[in-house]
């Protein structure tokens, strides 16, 4: 049985279509990621999965239970972490955890083994008010609370937004630990590097699914060679690349600018054009495409289709 079966999910808010004909499946025990810019429809999709919104169209089942008709039963099995911090800031760490344990009909003790690796890091602060925790600790507490009833599926909406880099890494290590416990996890993130840690990822933009595959397969399916071009004066380099016809879709990435080549053009043509523009000594090397390249490529393709 699949953990998630979504068929043609559509959600409209008035005239806006937040989620547009989205279909996907998530296998049990899978760590499934959604990436996409703000407003792509990830939060809406997650709320539908968490039984919080009835979709305008389409069906979604979790473990064979329908998110609309079987929501009562389903709510026992879902651990949901909304996008913004939503614990009680005026209760202590321990009181929050205790509260969620009780309303889910369990005790902290019963499922302690599950949250232990996460909770023991914040346990020294268990008498502290949740509102006074740092961003990373808040996320750990929120995850502990979402996990305390041993859900079969965790739905995490941008859990690492606004969290420092070290805590982000720790958080993903925890997710991998939970995956080993057999918990299915669907998670959204705006960070491409986090997407690489998922078993499979879905790329979302403007309510549509652009593609689903493993990170490696998505990268290899890109099908075009990507070059990283660099020069001291990155700003002028970017302008020059945008102006020329040989390079397609220049996007700045760290120190370099990533481009693909127009059909029939070569790296040498690009270098020559740059020299003519007064940018001597620019370096251009072929690289393996990353998730971001693929994503931006997919976005560009859909935009050019519209035009």
């Amino acid at each position: 049985m699949n953990a998630v079966d979504a068929t043609s999910i559509t959600q409209r808010f008035g005239k806006i279509t937040a989620v547009d004909d989205v279909s996907f499946t998530v296998r049990e025990g899978e760590l499934f990621g959604f990436i996409g810019p703000d407003g792509a429809g990830k939060t809406t999709l997650f709320r539908i999965a968490a039984t919080l919104i009835i979709p305008t169209g389409g069906r979604m089942n979790l473990f064979g239970l329908n998110v609309v008709s079987d929501f009562r039963e389903l709510r026992n099995h879902i651990g949901y972490m909304p996008g913004r911090f939503s614990l009680y800031t005026d209760l202590t760490v321990e009181e929050n955890l205790q509260f969620y344990a009780t309303i889910f009909g369990t005790t902290i003790h019963e499922n302690y083994y599950l949250i232990e690796p996460i909770y023991k890091q914040i346990e020294p602060f268990r008498k502290r008010l949740a509102g006074r925790l740092s961003g990373g600790m808040k996320q750990k507490l929120a995850l502990s609370c979402a996990l305390i009833h041993k859900p079969r599926i965790l739905i995490l909406d941008e859990p690492t937004t606004g969290v420092d880099a070290v805590s982000r890494t720790e958080f993903w290590e925890m997710l991998e630990g939970l995956k080993r416990e057999g918990i299915t996890i669907i998670v959204s993130t705006p960070y491409m590097d986090e997407a690489l840690r998922c078993d499979r990822i879905a790329l979302m933009q403007q309510g549509k699914l652009m593609g689903i595959d493993t990170p490696a397969a998505i990268r290899s399916s890109y099908g075009k060679r990507i070059y990283a071009v660099s020069h001291r004066d990155r700003y002028r380099l970017l302008l020059a690349l945008r102006a020329m016809t040989e390079a397609v879709g220049p996007e700045p990435f760290g120190e370099a600018v990533h481009i693909t080549l127009r059909e029939g053009a070569s790296v040498e043509d690009v270098k020559k054009s740059l020299e003519r523009a007064g940018l001597e000594g620019a370096e251009a090397t072929e690289i393996t495409p990353g998730i971001e390249d693929v994503f931006l490529g997919l976005m560009n393709r859909s935009e050019s289709l519209k035009v």
Binding site: F13, G14, A50, I53, R72, I78, P82, L91, I103
Partner: protein, 373 residues
């Protein structure tokens, strides 16, 4: 049940950790009782007056003494001429001037009658009519004593007035039931709507909805603490009324408490309804204040008698729960009436409560409201 109790416990923690909530719950009721009880008075006590005594004879002096001997007035100023009257009023320290004409004693003795002028400060109409009423009373009292002493002829018909239920005409009798009415509806409706909307605003409602808690458990769990705290409030107010203002409950206390419970439930139902119609705390506060505080103050008969209003307001006030509750609580506290006298009002309140509960439980959603982005 265990889940429910955990919820109630959590709610109590919220209340006791939030200083502002505590102030609203307990500080404001106590302050209102004291303010309404002491500061806002409609009875008269120690009002300053001025006397322009053109006679300076036995009658004018005796009458002045009589007026001053009452606990209502004291003579702030003795004026010497008509010109000073205007100035005295403008200074604002006096509420009225009493003018005795020259040779008032002689006039009484010769003609059996005389005139005393009273000029009151009409910029405060309520006080002015009270002041003139009281002074007129004292003057006619004195004049009848003169009549009997001097002429001892025909007996005059003297009305003897007694205020039933409230012999001293004390305004606490009017205000304390009113304040209970106002405070209960404000606290219940305001606090519950704010506490429910706060969960929405902080995003915790999202998590609660995903939990196996049923909507009624969430709602009842949220309002239960306020039900008990409101009851505590009622008891505190009644004790204050008794010890500070000497206003005992003449009727049955269990009946009074039961009626208060009904009214509290009504307030909570209004709060739940308000919370279902907005997801912003400011809106909840605004709606509660505007829709509840003002009508309660103005149209419940708490300050302004409904009988004196145009008929249309009478009908409007009928849909306001406070109107009925003010009547109930006055009947029990001051008249000592039993249930037989207030069953109609009670039935109306019970009906309103039921209706509001049905509406608000229908409007509470098991899912998120569709937020247009």
């Amino acid at each position: 049940m265990k889940r429910f109790m955990a919820f109630v416990r959590k709610e109590f923690l919220h209340i006791f950790r939030d200083f502002r909530t505590l102030i609203i719950l307990f500080g404001i009721p106590a302050a209102q009782i004291l303010i309404f009880g002491y500061a806002v008075r409609t009875d008269l006590k120690d009002a300053g007056i001025a006397v322009l005594d053109n006679a300076g004879d036995g009658v004018s002096k005796e009458l002045t003494q009589k007026i001053e001997a009452s606990e209502f007035f004291y003579v702030k100023k003795h004026l010497n001429s008509y010109e000073e009257i205007d100035e005295a009023f403008r200074q604002g320290e006096i509420k009225a001037v009493i003018i005795f004409p020259g040779q008032i004693a002689a006039s009484v003795a010769r003609e059996g009658s005389a005139t005393v002028s009273i000029i009151a400060d009409g910029s405060e109409p309520n006080t002015a009519s009270l002041v003139t009423g009281y002074i007129t009373g004292i003057v006619s009292d004195y004049s009848s004593s003169l009549t009997s002493a001097v002429t001892s002829s025909l007996p005059l018909i003297v009305p003897e007035v007694r205020m039933y239920f409230n012999p001293g005409l004390e305004s606490h009798f009017m205000f304390i039931p009113g304040v209970i009415t106002l405070i209960l509806i404000l606290i219940c409706a305001l606090m519950t709507s704010v506490t429910i909307v706060r969960e929405k605003e902080y995003g915790t409602m999202e998590v609660l909805l995903v939990s196996p808690l049923k909507p009624w458990q969430i709602i009842v769990g949220k309002v239960t603490p306020y039900f008990f705290l409101s009851l505590v409030n009622v008891i505190v107010i009644l004790l204050m009324a008794w010890f500070v203002f000497g206003l005992p409950v003449r009727g049955s206390i269990p009946l009074l408490i039961a009626e208060c419970m009904l009214y509290i439930l009504l307030g909570l139902a209004i709060g739940i309804l308000v919370s279902a119609s907005t997801s912003k705390m400011e809106n909840a506060i605004f709606i509660s204040f505007l829709a509840l505080m003002l009508p309660t103050l103005l149209l419940s008969g708490f300050i302004f008698p409904i009988e004196n209003m145009p008929v249309i307001y009478d009908y409007v006030s009928m849909i306001l729960p406070p109107r009925w509750f003010v009547e109930i609580i006055r009947a029990i506290m001051i008249k000592g009436a039993g249930f037989a006298y207030i069953w109609k009002e009670t039935a109306i309140l019970a009906g309103m409560t039921l209706l509001l509960m049905v509406i608000s439980s229908r409007r509470f959603k098991t899912r998120l409201e569709e937020e247009g982005k």
